[in-house]
């Protein structure tokens, strides 16, 4: 019995639509990446990494911005990772079936998708207002708060993936809980937690909004964390919205560097994950 024409048409339409939708998504990806790389590659020169951000009308580089971003990301990782790993450990281990853990897990996932500009406002009220000035330290704090939920989630999930038999084996050997966690579980989950941190770094590297009123920006070289600190995303924002062609070039170059960094991290994460699965 042949299928009624309208049903076949509906099926073909769905097929075409699904294929078109996927092509749609891939077209945007290609367009965005292609334009970023094309515009950015044209602007790539060694001076990008050796000179500082210039005043309008002259050429320069983005070294101070790269440095500032690197320092704030590093500091954010130093602050956020221990807290995140500890909280994730609680959710997976001590607190596994407690109400506290359920609440924390819930709240953590909300923080994960919360608007980053609200976090910037929070740190502004808490730190910048009190101190009376903008600072790279405040910027790093806001990045740490954005990193935190990612690390918590990854730690929790990767610890939960470890079968309980490993824990029981440790207890059977007479190890106290903290040793079991530290010497057995963390070692087993290390690559997964590491990928979580790397993904978190990829996320905070591109965050602009929270830095707008915490670290602000600095056109000169400065390594002082207690003052406005240059950083890549705010420089890209400022330069892209300006009318100067030299600044536009630098903005595209910065966008290229940022995108390449984030993509490389993502590739690295997948390589580690694959190695982890094989091992």
């Amino acid at each position: 019995m042949a299928i009624r024409a309208s049903r076949r048409i509906a099926d073909v339409v769905a097929f075409v639509f699904a294929t078109a939708a996927t092509a749609f998504g891939l077209v945007w990806l290609t367009w965005i990446l292609w334009m970023t790389f094309r515009q950015g590659a044209a602007a790539l020169t060694p001076s990008l990494f050796t000179q500082m951000t210039p005043p309008p009308g002259s050429s320069g580089g983005i070294f101070n911005a790269l440095y500032g971003s690197a320092v704030m990301i590093l500091l954010a990782v130093v602050i956020g990772t221990p807290v995140g790993v500890a909280a994730g450990t609680y959710l997976a281990e001590h607190g596994r079936h407690t109400r506290l853990a359920a609440a924390v897990s819930f709240i953590n996932d909300i923080l994960l998708s919360a608007p980053s500009i609200v976090i910037g406002l929070f740190i502004y009220e808490l730190v910048v207002r009190r101190a009376g000035h903008f600072s790279g330290f405040a910027g790093a704090l806001s990045l740490a708060i954005i990193l935190l939920p990612i690390v918590v989630r990854t730690t929790q999930e990767s610890l939960l993936l470890i079968p309980d038999t490993m824990r029981e084996a440790g207890f059977a050997l007479g190890l106290p809980r903290w040793r079991v966690t530290r010497q057995i579980l963390y070692k087993a989950a290390m690559s997964a937690i590491l990928t979580g941190i790397l993904l978190g770094i990829a996320r905070i590297a591109g965050e602009t909004a929270p830095l707008l009123f915490t670290a602000l920006n600095n056109q000169f070289w400065s390594a002082n964390l207690n003052a406005p600190l240059a950083n890549l995303p705010v420089v890209i924002f400022q330069y892209a919205m300006s009318p100067y062609d030299e600044w536009h070039t630098l903005a595209w170059a910065g966008a290229f560097v940022l995108t390449a960094f984030v993509l490389l991290l993502n590739i690295l994460v997948r390589l580690i994950a694959r190695k982890g699965k094989q091992g």
Binding site: V71, L74, H133, A227, Y244
Partner: protein, 344 residues
């Protein structure tokens, strides 16, 4: 956790906190003073700052965030000086214990992005500008504009009017001028660092407005002339009080500034739009620097004063290169006397 994992970031952190000096100039680590405010003055201020840094190593870190932001930051004490194109009244200065003095004069110029219309070819008047920004004139080929520009090929496209989205001294001077020449504007949006704009696009800073006008076809904006020069934008001529269509230039700005009576302006509170004179540019304005009268950090305050002394005494070259008008010698003397009297 594995100890080596944390050693690396900790080392980097220590390294970051330890060093505080610069490395790209031959000068050793100098002082750093922070300022914020007017985007109107930013092109020449950043040129002065670059020269000054080469000269004696002091870094002037200026955030170009608009006059409103500059006033807020210096009143809150989060920067060492503020820059505003709208002078503060004496009572507000007294309330916040601030001293105020001008450093430069420039001009605000309407910029356009119309295919085929070159710089200086389009003629506009204050009332027409007011009507465009109020939405009463919607298209470029409106009879009022066509009448004024017989030879110019004006498209029938809608005008995309770009204004400032931030608190702007440039907006203040521009709207002050519009209030002077258009009663409808005065009764409507009025004057201020920001007004109730109807429609249009909001750009952040002079940079943002210039950026948008460069991007958007058939757009109109108002920016300080240095931005026009630096970005080779197409600008329109404006009719002045004497009825002449004066081209923006250091000379026409100077002609307008020459009519200003600085001697009788308390705390230099003076606005110079719609100046009389055949050659005067109708929308000229100055930028004022705000500094605390009794600064907490004396060294920083001295550094700020030293920088601006350098700017008004020796910065004429950079100013004229960008078509700003440096201050005349007697005004410079008046300012330096004021500073030594007021800033302790």
């Amino acid at each position: 956790m594995n100890r080596p994992f944390f050693a690396l970031p900790a080392l980097a952190l220590l390294a970051a906190c330890g060093s505080s000096g610069g490395n790209e100039a031959a000068n050793s680590s100098g002082a750093q003073i922070t300022g914020a405010g007017s985007t109107f003055v930013y092109p020449v201020l950043s040129a002065w700052a670059a020269d000054y840094r080469n000269q004696n190593g002091t870094a002037v870190n200026y955030q170009s965030i608009g006059s409103g932001g500059g006033i807020a930051q210096v009143e809150a004490g989060t920067v060492d000086f503020g820059a505003t194109d709208q002078p503060l009244q004496s009572d507000e200065l007294a309330k916040n214990n601030l001293a105020q003095f001008p450093v430069i004069v420039g001009g605000i110029v309407p910029v356009v992005n119309i295919a085929g219309v070159d710089a200086g070819k389009l003629k506009l008047t204050g009332p027409i500008l007011a009507d465009i920004y109020q939405g009463k004139i919607k298209n470029w080929n409106d009879p009022a504009i066509v009448r004024l520009n017989p030879g110019v090929n004006l498209p029938s496209a809608a005008i995309a009017a770009v204004h400032r989205s931030d608190g702007s001294g440039t907006t203040f001077n521009f709207t002050h001028y519009l209030s002077q020449v258009s009663p409808a504007w005065k009764a409507g949006p009025g004057e201020g660092k920001t007004v109730n704009w109807t429609g249009g696009v909001g750009g952040k800073g002079n940079e943002g407005v210039a950026g948008y006008v460069k991007q958007l076809p058939n757009s109109l904006g108002y920016v300080e002339y240095a931005y026009v020069v630096q970005n080779k934008m197409s600008y329109a001529l404006v009719q002045n009080a004497a009825g002449q269509f004066v081209a923006p230039s250091a000379d026409s700005f100077a002609a307008a500034a020459g009519t200003a009576d600085w001697k009788n302006a308390q705390d230099f509170n003076l606005v110079m739009t719609n100046a009389p004179g055949a050659n005067a540019y109708p929308i000229a304005a100055s930028t004022f620097i705000l500094v605390p009268k009794q600064p907490k950090d004396k060294a920083k305050s001295n550094a700020v004063i030293a920088f601006f002394k350098y700017a008004i005494e020796k910065g004429q070259g950079q100013a004229t290169k960008l078509d700003y008008v440096p201050l005349p010698a007697d005004l410079v003397k008046q300012i330096e006397d004021y500073i030594s009297q007021n800033v302790k």
